[in-house]
Structures are given as structure tokens and as C-alpha cells.
């Protein structure tokens, strides 16, 4: 143990100098964002979201790359999944509230187009419901349970993966955070 005041003073000075130097050395360079270019596409936080193209219920095809420049919320769901049904109105409300500023995309896991269309009509869903009939995109995104929701920023980077139902407030909180970061609050 330190015994004298002198030893304490030396320790505090050394800690101050080393700490300050380390903080300066750890400072992120202004071009830190360019490191994203080295990362492979992956469905985990920090990596560019894997691209996909899927057909929707009304025949249109949607590609993730086409949505670049705005935050994207990807919601994996199924009609038989009770928590998915509970959170669906929140996604619908968000799609109206953030229309043109953020994209809400529902990806149905492995069900027939008619079931998904009927469900969308029943719940008055107006945002794109895409058909992942062979579950290839669910596997690509390593979806282990429904519902699973990914928040992707305007640069196409996965920012958060939420497994389980989310509330309207959480959805709003995350979208607004991504919009603020993109300079579009």
C-alpha cells in the first residue's frame, strides 16, 4: 500500500498523464466511417445489412438496396404468430407517420400469398408485405424466432436486432434516433 502523500501525488500524476495520452490515442479519426467498407454483409449490428429482393403481395418486387438513403425497419412475421399480430398496428402507424422518411417492410415467413394478402386486408396494412416463401431471406438474416425486427440506418448498416414484440413507443424511439442521425429528424 502507498504510505506517503508523495507516493499518492506521483500515482495521480502518472494516472493523469497515461490516461490522457491513452484517450488521445484512442480518439476516432474523422474518416472512421470508411471502415464499413471492409465489412461483409451480415445480419448483425455494425455490418451492412444483406441485400435481398422479394416479391410483395401486390406483385411488386422490393430490393433492400432500392431503399438506401433512409432508415429501414425489417419486420419478420407470420400470420400464425400472436405477438406479430399484436405489434402489426404499430408498424402500420409508423409507416404512415414516417412515410417518405423511413421504410417499414414486413417479411412474411413461408406462407402462401393469399394468406398474407387476406391478412394484410384484414389489418388494413398499407406498407409492403413481402413473401419469403422458401424462407431463404429468413435464413440469410438468421431469424431464430418470430417476430424479429431489424433497424437499419440510412447507410444500410444494421443498428439493432429485436427479438420479440415491440411497443409503438420503442418503434418510434428507434426510428427517430435513426432519422436524427441521418440529419432528417
Amino acid at each position: 500500500m502507498l504510505r506517503t502523500r508523495f507516493e499518492w501525488v506521483i500515482l495521480i500524476i502518472v494516472a493523469t498523464l497515461l490516461g490522457s495520452a491513452w484517450i488521445m490515442m484512442s480518439q476516432e479519426p474523422a474518416t472512421a466511417g470508411s471502415s464499413l467498407l471492409t465489412l461483409a454483409e451480415a445480419p448483425i449490428v455494425g455490418h451492412p445489412a444483406p441485400n435481398f429482393t422479394l416479391p410483395g403481395t401486390v406483385g411488386q418486387e422490393v430490393s433492400l438496396h432500392d431503399l438506401a438513403g433512409q432508415p429501414v425497419v425489417l419486420n419478420f412475421w407470420a400470420t400464425w404468430c400472436a405477438p406479430c399480430r399484436v405489434e402489426m398496428p404499430a408498424f402500420q402507424q409508423a409507416s404512415v407517420q414516417y412515410n417518405g422518411r423511413a421504410a417499414i417492410i414486413g417479411i412474411n415467413q413461408g406462407e402462401a400469398a393469399k394468406n398474407v394478402t387476406d391478412f394484410g386486408a384484414e389489418y388494413r396494412i398499407t406498407y409492403p408485405l413481402l413473401l419469403d416463401t422458401d424462407q431463404q431471406i429468413s435464413r440469410l438474416y438468421e431469424v431464430r424466432g418470430l417476430p424479429t425486427t431489424l433497424f437499419i440506418d440510412a447507410d444500410g448498416v444494421v443498428r439493432e436486432v429485436v427479438i420479440g414484440a415491440i411497443t409503438p413507443a420503442v418503434l418510434q424511439d428507434r426510428i427517430e434516433r435513426l432519422l436524427a442521425e441521418a440529419g432528417n429528424p
Binding site: 500515482l11 480518439q27 472512421a32 471502415s35 449490428v45 429485436v162 424511439d173
Partner: protein, 241 residues
């Protein structure tokens, strides 16, 4: 690494499970630490429980308050689902205030109680690191070191495992210092100094850390402030001895 844990027909989020069992383990450790420091173990344990539950409720209520328009039309949403939607700083403040006033009401010795809470708090931070490693959003910077973890074609520092080692080192220091402690609060301040110093060093290896203006790591500055404050208080106490 392992975001979900399938158990039979159910799938559980690993981070949530780790935090639930970790909280129980932290409370158990706090009770044992209080016994070892010859404090009122029951009262110290209850103080920790009060802080934990107040923190949980506070984090939820702070989130609800911040997003009141979204809950105004859906009051049941405040209670369900409880798996998402927390404001950590609100929880931290509420937990500290509740534990402080409970300690005052029970007339627990402030500094000695902090000494007993220390291993539980450090374990709590270790639990958060483990949950982050298994199913959280954190990850380390790119590296070529042989112990780096390969994930999606790139090798990264296992920064959460480093944090676990930092916590283990702090617990070891606490354990070694118990017999030789000279005043109440010494264990807490020493643990804060050791853990802050290690986190100050390790945060440089975290890739998605909290960045403030000019590219500085926010948590490094917090750790640096905690380190200097704890060293100053330790020096002052030693001078008074």
C-alpha cells in the same frame, strides 16, 4: 454469438436470461460480502433488492415519460410487453436514490455498505458484458491477434471478454484487500479505481462505443473521471489515517 437459446418449443433471448440469473447471483454475492464485512446482511441484501427493483421500474417509467404520446392511447402498453423500452440512465438514478433513502431509513453505515455492495456491482457489470458478448450489440475493433474472434469474415477483439477479465481482476483486488482494509469505503474506492483504469484502457478496443465530439470515447472520459476521483479520495483518506 448466441442471441437466442432454444429450450424445447420455446426460444429465449440469451442476454435476458443472463441478466435475470446474473441479478440473482449479484444479490447473493452482496449478502455474502456483507456477512464477511460483519454488516447487517439482511438489511444490505434488502437495500440491493430495493435498488434493483426501483432501477427496473425507474427505467421503464422514464422511458414511458419520454414517449408519453405513444403510451397515452395505449396505457396497457406500459405494462406489456416488458421486454423492451427502458431508459438506463433513468433506472440508474432511481435505483441509486431508492437505495440511498432505504439505507438512510435503516441507518446503514454509508461507506461500509458501499464496500459490501462493491462485489455485487462489479459482478453486475460483468453480467452486462457477458450478456453483450452472447446476445448483445457490442463488438470489438478489427484485429489480427490470434485470440481475436472471427465473425462474418473479419477478426475482432473479444472486447466483452476483456471486460470480464477486468471485472475478475477487480474482484480479486477486493478479495485480497478485505483483511487489510483500514477504513470504511476503502474497498469501494479501490475497486472503482481498478475497474475504471481497466475500462479506460479497454474501451479503445470497442468498435461501436459511445463517441462524443471530436471522436473521443465517452465511456473513456467517464472512466477517467472516476479513476481520478477515486484516487484523490483514497489519497485524502490515507492522509487522514
Amino acid at each position: 454469438m448466441l442471441p437466442t437459446l432454444p429450450l424445447g418449443p420455446f426460444i429465449f433471448p440469451t442476454a435476458g436470461l443472463v441478466i435475470i440469473f446474473g441479478a440473482w447471483f449479484c444479490l447473493w454475492v452482496i449478502e455474502k460480502a456483507a456477512l464477511r464485512l460483519q454488516l447487517d446482511a439482511q438489511a444490505t441484501y434488502t437495500l440491493a433488492v430495493v435498488g434493483l427493483f426501483a432501477g427496473f421500474l425507474g427505467a421503464r417509467l422514464a422511458f414511458v415519460a419520454l414517449h408519453w404520446p405513444a403510451y397515452q392511447q395505449n396505457l396497457i402498453g406500459i405494462l406489456w410487453p416488458l421486454t423492451s423500452g427502458y431508459a438506463p440512465l433513468g433506472g440508474l438514478a432511481t435505483g441509486i436514490v431508492a437505495a440511498f433513502f432505504y439505507g438512510r431509513a435503516r441507518q446503514l453505515p454509508f461507506a461500509a455498505t458501499l464496500d459490501a455492495l462493491t462485489p455485487g456491482l462489479i459482478l453486475g457489470l460483468m453480467v452486462i458484458s457477458l450478456a453483450d458478448f452472447l446476445g448483445g450489440p457490442g463488438y470489438g475493433t478489427l484485429t489480427a491477434v490470434p485470440w481475436g474472434l472471427s465473425q462474418y469474415g473479419v477478426r475482432r477483439h473479444p472486447v466483452q471478454l476483456y471486460e470480464l477479465l477486468a471485472g475478475a481482476l477487480t474482484l480479486l483486488v477486493w478479495w485480497r484487500l478485505v483483511r487489510g482494509r483500514r477504513y470504511d469505503g476503502q474497498l469501494f474506492l479501490t475497486a472503482v479505481a481498478v475497474y475504471s483504469a481497466t475500462r479506460l484502457f479497454l474501451d479503445a478496443f470497442r468498435d461501436n462505443t459511445w463517441i462524443i465530439t471530436n471522436g473521443y470515447h465517452g465511456w473513456q472520459l467517464v472512466a477517467f473521471a472516476a479513476l481520478l476521483l477515486s484516487l484523490l479520495l483514497l489519497a485524502r483518506h490515507d492522509g487522514n489515517q
